[in-house]
């Protein structure tokens, strides 16, 4: 039964991807299918809750089938497209790239081992027990989003989070899963597949494989591929949302505009505080449309990206009606202790340094260090060859990183310690640390596709092929 549920989720996502555009690569289709499919399954749960229909696997199967059939009216054409894509894949792999195969084998082995670990242990993390998995199990049992635990304030902190993450757990529970962690594996797989395909758009297979390996092997991210926590899945949505939008802006490719907007919508459907990333992406778009004056696109993007955020906000206010103190204390002003604590932790994370109980190097390995090294090399190259040649449209990506990080940092600066029942130091060592995942695919994408890397990997490819 669980296989049916997951297959339906993939089919639904794949149908949407093919409806958006038939020109996506197979890797993009595979990665997006699960993310969009699971996102839509939780939208179904939300809509069923609104119309007060209790969730059952039968109801979900029916809804899925109706949606899949409606989206596949041109099924023979879709089949033809897939046939062509598979033929193209066969043709492109006729000359074996041994280096890529070698790197792929390492990725596959690491993925296999972390999956074994993930599927062996049931969720036992504090946040999962007090919130995510508890909500998921009770939602599946009671067949509604506003479960009885809200009445007694026993729902946990994630009770007011949008339902994508714990809803995805409920979805697999409804299909008979004993533990929901298969979902974590599939989120991780989607993140890796999409990252690979986006990097591959700009560089060669070896570079794309190598950077996918660096992404997957990032120690803290790899550890989270075996934990039932929401940060890695959120990164799985933020990665395609930001990178697809960037590719749309850079290459003016319409299909990436649609993919970016849909994924951005799901970012705030998995975590409301991802709204900071929506704002940063809108800034990135604004920088570009400032020149083209195509403001219509900006508004369409904003509407698609913000709609889920507003819908959930209204649901919490009107249906859940949970009395809540504000998570943010905007009257905080200038607080030296808080700022210096936050800056010290941030410095440790970004420059692989130790600070109190954390060590940036142990957590994120070479990710941020290599980003800064690449940035410095490119800045030096820009002096020699000109900014436009070296940076091109990548200033958009850098602007995004800067704005998103600024907003993310500010979010924590104004956080209300009393409401969170945690000190700023402990928040920096836990929540902030895990939130750094959202930046990892983006900074690695820059490192992989920047001017200096392209030169380096171009030379490597020339040597490899003997061209």
């Amino acid at each position: 039964m669980l296989i049916v549920g997951i297959a339906l989720c993939y089919l639904l996502g794949c149908s949407v991807v093919m409806a958006v555009s038939r020109k996506f690569s197979l890797a993009e289709i595979t990665g997006c299918s699960f993310l969009i499919g699971m996102g839509l399954e939780t939208v179904f749960l939300f809509l069923l809750d609104i119309v007060q229909l209790h969730f059952t696997s039968f109801l979900l199967i029916s809804l899925n089938l109706v949606a899949i059939i409606a989206l596949n009216r041109k099924f023979p054409e879709t089949l033809k497209v897939f046939k062509e894509k598979f033929n193209d894949l066969k043709a492109s792999t006729s000359a074996i790239n041994y280096v890529a195969v070698f790197l792929f084998c390492i990725i596959a082995y690491l993925f296999y081992t972390i999956t074994i670990k993930n599927l062996f242990w049931p969720p036992a993390e504090g946040d999962s027990i007090t919130s995510f998995d508890k909500l998921a199990r009770v939602i599946a049992l009671e067949g509604k989003l506003k479960i009885s635990l809200f009445q007694y304030n026993l729902q946990g902190a994630a009770g007011v989070y949008p339902p994508l993450f714990h809803g995805s757990f409920s979805y697999v529970y409804l299909f008979g899963a004993e533990t929901p962690k298969i979902v974590i594996t599939l989120f991780f797989l989607s993140l890796l597949t999409l990252f690979y395909s986006f990097v591959k758009t700009y560089t060669n297979t070896v570079a794309a494989m190598l950077f996918t390996l660096v992404l997957m092997a990032t120690p803290e991210l790899y550890a989270h591929a075996a934990l039932a926590l929401g940060n890695m899945p959120t990164a799985a949505y933020i990665c395609p949302a930001v990178l697809a939008t960037y590719i749309w802006l850079d290459r003016n490719d319409e299909k990436y505009f649609r993919m970016g907007a849909i994924m951005m919508g799901f970012c705030v459907w998995i975590r409301s505080d991802a709204i900071a990333f929506v704002i940063a992406v809108l800034c990135m778009i604004l920088l570009k449309v400032w020149q083209t004056k195509d403001y219509k696109r900006l508004f369409i993007f904003a509407a698609i990206a913000i709609l889920p955020f507003v819908s959930w906000l209204l649901y919490v206010k009107l249906k859940i009606q949970l009395p809540q103190a504000s998570r943010f204390d905007l009257s905080i002003g200038y607080n030296t202790y808080r700022l210096s604590t936050m800056l010290n932790y941030t410095k440790a994370y970004l420059f692989a340094l130790p600070y109190r109980e954390v060590h940036g190097g142990q957590l994120y390995g070479i990710v941020f260090v290599s980003f800064f090294v690449a940035l410095l090399i490119n800045a030096a190259l820009a002096f020699k060859n000109g900014i436009k040649i070296v940076f091109g449209n990548q200033y958009l990506l850098l602007a995004f990183i800067l704005v998103a990080f600024g907003l993310y940092f500010t979010e924590f600066y104004v956080i209300n310690e009393n409401v969170q029942a945690s000190t700023i130091a402990s928040l920096m060592a836990s929540s902030f640390k895990r939130g750094m995942f959202y930046f990892i695919p983006i900074v690695l994408f820059y490192t992989a596709t920047c001017h200096s890397s392209k030169i380096l990997f171009g030379k490597l490819e020339k040597f490899r092929t003997g061209a």
Binding site: V99, T113, I116, P122, R137, L149, L154, A352, G466
Partner: protein, 256 residues
Amino acid sequence: MARGKQHPPSDKPEKKPTASSSGFSVGPFFRNFIIIFLLSVIFIGIYSLNDKRVELPDLYNELQTLKERPGNHDERINEIEHRINEIETDTSFLKTLFVGYFDEIHFVAFGVQDQIDKVTAEIQNGSNTPLTREDKLNYKVHTYRLLDFINANSPSNAVILLPPTDSLINDSRWNYVYDPGWVEYFIYPRLCIETGHEKENPELARRITHVLIVNGIGYDKLKYDVPLDKREKVCLLPINKPVDVPETTDTTQTSN
């Protein structure tokens, strides 16, 4: 100018291609091999940077065993502590940059199957029955037996009064059995409320059916008296006078 110039067909015999009929080319193969070799050297180099850490789990295990074992083992304890300190404080920038990768490769990628086999053997304890979710939770959550005991000894509509946080927060053996948000995961559909928070949730407080006694704390919440000689340290008692003898559990011995 010369770039666009068409070269006339040469009379020289064409250089013999190294490719076979299947398209296999020796040149590119060796070039690929060289890159793979270099990558392997880099990966192994990164791995060996922190290979001393392999000793850590055994050292920590031995240290714990010696500390628990009666007798004088000071010399060996000092030796182990010195070695652990030597490994843990070897923190050059390059080493710490790659230490996370070492741990993940050595302890997760290479070690996960062994760990799972070890845990499975430990839980199965000689039997060959497949492990359930409950078995694994029991292994991970050291108060699981107590929580399971609550489920076995109270009706599904029970409301449990948990001990106050400040009475147990310094005793890690009872971690989180005072936290309603945490306990609820294990006892649903039963409900729970923490002692001292009754005013925040008066409706639930009115419905309390059972009191969870831990470390002998909570007898004052019962609406009847339990003789001192019959007071168990850990048990679940109905808030109103029971008909039978109070149920007790032996979780203190099973908790680790």
